[in-house]
């Protein structure tokens, strides 16, 4: 599964994109798995109210299933316009 990061989430984790081997069932499971793996993830995901997630480029919730998903994206609330 491809995982991509943007803005300060990307800066804290230190890479813009990586391939992750995981059996996580939901986004929340994946976040817990990554946070346990390394302090960089724990720092990026410390306050999940400040993090948004997209599954295959559609916004989703943290309890969404990862079944069939190819690309997960984590980023701060958007500031376009």
């Amino acid at each position: 599964m491809d995982v991509v990061y943007f803005a300060w989430v990307r800066e804290r984790i230190g890479v813009p994109r990586e391939s992750v081997e995981t059996q996580a069932a939901t986004v929340a499971d994946l976040v817990a798995e990554l946070s346990a793996r390394d302090a960089r993830y724990a720092a990026a995901f410390a306050d999940l109210t400040a993090v948004r997630v997209a599954l295959d480029q559609d916004l989703a919730d943290f309890d969404a299933s990862l079944a069939g998903v190819r690309e997960v994206a984590f980023f701060p609330p958007m500031t376009g316009g």
């Binding site: 943007f6 990307r10 997209a54 480029q57 994206a73 609330p77 958007m78 500031t79 376009g80 316009g81």
Partner: protein, 148 residues
């Protein structure tokens, strides 16, 4: 409908002139142009805009389609830049054309609210002292979506 996501500058006036040009079924055209702002008491050197290639175009197209389904629009345009922008440079623009004024105004306002909070762009302000800060989303931005 036209959606453009690009690093290059654009000429908002020329885009406005070309938009819906020569159509006599249109009574009202509204444009909004966002500009990199640098205030005297808090000057910035540059605005850096990061985006999510692929999702950006997809999200904007969805937002514009929602607007065209909801209001009776003859046409709509969104241009949004990414990359490093100088103060005074245009960041993005929306344009809406409709038979009636209210539809053009409301749809442009709607597009701006949604582009701000639902299109995957992130702004970082670079200051003269070398510091850089990600612009934080405001609670108001999210609350603005409830207007629609």
């Amino acid at each position: 409908m036209r959606v453009v996501v690009q690093p290059e500058p654009f000429d908002a006036g020329a885009e406005a002139s070309a938009f819906a040009a020569g159509r006599s079924d249109i009574g009202a055209v509204v444009t909004f142009t966002g500009v990199v702002r640098s205030l005297e008491d808090d000057p910035i050197m540059a605005m850096e805009i990061e985006h999510y290639p692929g999702m950006t175009e997809r999200a904007i197209t969805g937002i514009v389609q929602t607007a065209m389904d909801r209001w009776d629009l003859a046409d709509a345009l969104v241009i949004h830049r990414f990359g490093r922008l100088e103060p005074g440079a245009p960041i993005m623009m929306v344009a809406t054309a409709a038979a009636h004024r209210a539809a053009a105004f409301e749809a442009a306002d709607f597009l701006m609210d949604y582009l701000k909070s639902r299109a995957p762009f992130w702004k970082k302000e670079h200051r003269a002292d070398g510091g850089a800060t990600w612009v934080a989303a405001k609670d108001d931005d999210e609350a603005a979506l409830d207007r629609w």
